[in-house]
């Protein structure tokens, strides 16, 4: 199991780093090396670990990472946020986290309005692929 590691400079001056497991095709972006006290599936392919007390994100894990960034003919790919699977108290923590750095540097929020419904489905796009390792 070999991990490719690289430091990332964030806009707030802090340093994060990623570890890419090429065999498993999982990329983990680590903001703080602290023990997580909460974690959720943000999307079917992204796991967020965070500190329950301070509401600070600790890491993002991207499953099948090389596939997530593959080009498609329609432009950016938007991944559905699995908000329905988050307990209410977790939702209250996640939404503010998603809207500020460091998560906002890697994920862009949007909403999808399907035809014939009033429901808006929360989505996220992966940003800054230039910081990431080359796809496997």
């Amino acid at each position: 199991m070999e991990l490719e590691k690289k430091e990332l400079k964030l806009s707030n001056g802090k340093t994060a780093w990623y570890e890419y497991d090429r065999d498993g095709d999982v990329l983990e972006i680590i903001f703080q090396p602290a023990e997580a006290t909460g974690a959720v599936e943000l999307t079917e392919s992204i796991i967020l670990r965070f500190d329950w007390g301070s509401n600070e994100p600790l890491s993002l894990s991207l499953i099948s990472f090389s596939r997530l960034l593959q080009a498609n003919p329609y432009g950016e790919v938007h991944f559905q946020l699995l908000a329905d699977e988050w307990p209410d108290e977790v939702r209250d923590k996640i939404w503010p986290m998603l809207q500020k750095t460091p998560l906002s540097e890697f994920l862009k929020l949007s909403g999808y309005a399907p035809a014939h419904t009033h429901q808006i489905i929360p989505m996220a796009t992966i940003k800054q692929p230039y910081l990431m390792p080359q796809a496997a």
Binding site: D23, E28, E35, A36, A39, E44, S45, I47, R67
Partner: protein, 106 residues
């Protein structure tokens, strides 16, 4: 290298290496010393194919004995093939990539 072997609910053989297990325990400490629970997630968990990668699957199973608020385990398994050294035949190479404790709606 030590490996643990497990079969999922449809009989697919999947292994976990001790190297990956050590990494899981260091990085995802809510699963420290929870090897049986991680393997049990593959044995009995609900399986979901990753939409962008047909060779990758997620197994999830509720686990109420994790330290709160964690209440479920998520395991990523990839289903690959490798060639046998003696005859070049392709054989399955299904292994656990990583595992996480997560919080799910009850």
């Amino acid at each position: 290298m030590r490996k643990w072997f497990v079969h999922d609910s449809d009989g697919r053989e999947i292994y976990l290496t001790d190297e990956r297990w050590e990494h899981i325990q260091i990085r995802h400490s809510e699963l420290k010393n929870r090897l049986d629970d991680v393997l049990n997630t593959v044995r009995r968990g609900k399986r979901r194919q990753q939409p962008q990668d047909p060779q990758a699957f997620v197994y999830r199973l509720r686990c109420d004995t994790l330290r709160p608020p964690f209440n479920a385990i998520l395991v990523v398994v990839v289903f690959r093939f490798e060639s046998q050294e003696n005859n070049g035949n392709m054989i399955p190479n299904n292994f656990i990539v990583s595992a996480w404790g997560i919080v799910m709606r009850q």
